[in-house]
């Protein structure tokens, strides 16, 4: 008779010096990257995992997938919220363990919605709207570099994003249509949230982190037009949702971006 004994190897504990990398906060980072970074920071705080935020001008190029943010934990480098959630799960930390299969599928669907709608809308407004691109996105994106490299990189990025927008069918949309799409997305989120504190009753999940990251960043960022922020502020339960997460998980952060300043 054979006896097979399986001894699970203990996962490495979360180190003290885990670091999250993003572009320069003051001069360089754009709305979409800031939202993604804040989502990951919120998620890690909800898990109780300490992480230090480091700003680097070349964060986008350091990232293994080319996307912001990425975390450096031990000697591993993981980028984007999805893989980071998997990574923390492998280390034994998870926010969605308490969900059943139906809820988990629903959570994934809503996360897809946020990525396909909110994130794409942010990218569209940043790079496909000529006014925003010229006044905000290109100057900020190219700020760490000297002439003529700054212009080359900024236009290269703009061309790349516009090409992607055309590929997914957003190329022909107007700004108004995009604002409408954002409103509809927020409508769906607002309905799902209802009067609950978090999307799945009492405990936050990665969906809460993702929604918070995007909505909070949109509301607190000054763009050429305040239209987008206004659309979101129309949903009061989403506003109080953002405030709640900010107060619960980010009370130690600098007061400058406190929600109350922008509402």
């Amino acid at each position: 008779m054979n006896v097979c004994v399986f001894i699970p190897t203990a996962a490495e504990p979360w180190p003290e010096n885990a670091t999250l990398y993003q572009p320069l906060k003051e001069d360089q980072i754009l709305l979409s990257d800031c939202a993604s970074s804040l989502a990951v920071q919120a998620y890690l705080r909800m898990c109780g995992l300490p992480v230090q935020v480091v700003c680097r001008a070349n964060a986008e190029y350091m990232s293994p997938s080319g996307k912001i943010p990425f975390i450096h934990v031990g000697n591993q480098v993981v980028s984007e919220l999805g893989p980071i959630v998997q990574f923390t799960k492998a280390k034994g930390h998870s926010l969605s363990d308490g969900l059943d299969d139906v809820q988990r599928a629903e959570m994934k669907a809503y996360m897809e919605l946020v990525n396909n709608m909110l994130l794409t809308a942010e990218l569209f407004i940043q790079w496909c709207d000529d006014a925003t691109a010229a006044e905000i996105s290109r100057p900020r994106y190219s700020s760490p570099y000297s002439w003529p490299l700054n212009n080359i990189l900024a236009y290269q990025k703009q061309w790349e994003v516009r090409r992607k927008m055309n590929a997914i069918g957003w190329g022909g949309k107007t700004l108004e249509q995009v604002y409408e799409d954002v409103s509809q997305c927020c409508q769906a989120l607002s309905q799902r949230l209802g009067t609950q504190p978090y999307f799945f009753s009492k405990q936050p999940t990665e969906l809460d982190a993702l929604v918070f990251g995007h909505l909070f960043t949109i509301i607190t960022t000054r763009l050429t037009s305040g239209e987008l922020a206004e659309r979101i502020k129309g949903f009061s339960n989403l506003l109080s949702f953002c405030r709640r997460i900010e107060q619960t998980y980010f009370e130690d952060k600098t007061k400058n971006t406190k929600l109350s300043k922008f509402v």
Partner: protein, 466 residues
């Protein structure tokens, strides 16, 4: 420095056969006749060039004017030979023949001579295909050349190189000063992609440069401005974080100056003479992100000893000084190790490293002492055996980063500690004047933790094709 990061050499090895190799020296005239000819006064009345197509005549006047000053026949022959060499070195003629004849015509003097150079111009467009092998990598090079583009020995070249570690293409325009061929201007436009597995790094350079060459006494000077857009990235997912931190784009705009004195009789296998080359580069004062001052030098001395053996000593070193508080980039630092510097160690695998990726250093020195002797057995003088030489060597070097706050005393001390060195012997095969293949048995010493040696500590064989 990492040689493959330089712009592609537009005036690199020329693998064609030079007409001079085939030319016979002027005939020896026997003594009595020589006396007669020497004593006979001549006057060179006309110097003509026949066979010109697109070449502008004013360019050639400088090269042949000296022939007019000949006093006697031997003088004419000698000066004509020199003028022929000068015409050939312009690179615009396939062939130059000299005809010396007595003057004819109404104004002909009794002792007058006419010298005629019959030239064949090179074609307007030539293509070439070469393979280059060196330092464990190989590449094929396709070239398109428009020699003598506008008639004054200008040259427009397009080169495409595809290799195991590097892909590059470039456009180059060369313009010499009429009458002063050694003073010339070269404009380059290039894109080079390189892979550096010892650092887990890949680099793409897109740039342009303008280079002015001129001799000054016995020295040769080069002044160059270069603007490069560099993109660094990790070669593999497993690259160390230190290399990952260097990823991204940067712009380097640098002025450099090189002075060199070369009295060696060959670049590949010198048996006498010396070389001194000093190079400095200042980046950041003409724009760009990178800001540093870089100095490096190379010294080589060769001396023939007893029995056809040659002793060769070389020393090279350099220092990189970042300006403005920012740290240096991995693309600007020096690298050490391998068959061209310290044998016995892996290619560029000495010095500061992180998780197995070599990061380069801001200061280095390297030295070598070589003794080349003919093989113990001599299969036949001038025959096949002449291509082989035995080779005993001693290499040493060090690569590190300096703390610029400390004084020069501390710097020298840092460079003197932890010296890596190696000794050994081997056989060197000479392939014409263009390549050499070495097979060495080598013992690395002074190995520091982090360095990579090739083979076991006891010794190894390495081969190097230059």
């Amino acid at each position: 420095s990492v040689t493959s990061l330089d712009s592609i050499p537009m005036h690199g090895r020329d693998l064609t056969v030079h007409p001079d190799d085939l030319m016979e020296p002027p005939e020896q005239v026997n003594d009595s006749k020589q006396e007669i000819l020497e004593n006979k006064d001549v006057v060179v009345q006309h110097v003509n060039i026949q066979g010109l197509g697109r070449t502008k005549e004013d360019l050639l006047g400088y090269e042949i004017s000296d022939v007019f000053h000949s006093k006697n026949l031997i003088d004419v022959m000698r000066k004509a030979h020199i003028a022929r060499q000068r015409l050939l070195r312009l690179g615009i003629f396939k062939q130059v023949e000299v005809l010396i004849d007595t003057s004819e015509g109404t104004d002909a003097l009794p002792n007058g001579l006419d010298v005629t150079f019959e030239v064949t111009e090179v074609k307007r467009l030539t293509g070439s295909y070469n393979t280059m092998v060196g330092n464990n990598e190989g590449s094929m090079v396709l070239g398109l050349k428009l020699p003598n583009t506008f008639g004054r020995a200008e040259k427009l070249t397009f080169q495409f190189s595809y290799g195991t570690k590097e892909t590059s293409y470039g456009l180059s325009f060369f313009k010499p000063q009429p009458g002063n061929f050694e003073r010339n201007l070269t404009l380059n436009l290039y894109k080079v992609t390189g892979q550096f597995p010892w650092s887990s790094l890949k680099e793409t350079d897109k740039g342009m440069s303008a280079e002015l060459n001129f001799p000054l006494g016995v020295t040769n000077h080069t002044l160059k401005w270069e603007g490069v857009w560099r993109e660094l990235g990790c070669l593999a997912r497993s690259a160390s974080f230190a290399v990952r931190e260097e990823s991204g784009h940067s712009l380097k705009s640098a002025l450099s100056h090189t002075v060199s004195i070369d009295s060696r009789n060959s670049a590949i296998f010198p048996s006498r003479g010396a070389l001194l080359q000093i190079n400095q580069e200042l980046a950041g004062y003409t724009g760009g992100d990178a800001s540093f001052l870089k100095e490096d030098f190379e010294l080589q001395v060769n001396r023939r000893l007893f029995w056809d053996s040659v002793l060769s000593a070389s020393l090279w070193g350099g220092m990189l000084y970042p300006i403005g508080g920012q740290s240096s980039s991995i693309a600007d630092r020096f690298y050490l190790g391998g068959p061209t510097s310290v044998r016995g160690f892996g290619m560029y695998s000495i010095g500061p490293q992180s998780e197995g990726d070599y990061l380069g250093g801001e200061a280095y020195w390297a030295g070598g002492l070589h003794l080349y002797t003919p093989l113990p057995f001599r299969p036949g003088r001038g025959g096949f055996g002449d291509l082989f030489r035995t080779h005993f060597f001693l290499n040493a070097g060090n690569l590190c980063n300096l703390n610029y706050g400390d004084g020069p005393q501390a710097h020298l001390q840092k460079l003197a500690e932890c010296i890596r060195w190696s000794y050994g012997a081997g056989i060197v095969l000479r392939l014409g004047n263009i390549a050499r293949l070495e097979l060495n048995y080598c013992v690395p010493m002074g190995v520091q933790s982090g360095d990579r040696c090739t083979g076991t500590r006891a010794g190894h064989y390495n081969s190097k094709l230059l």
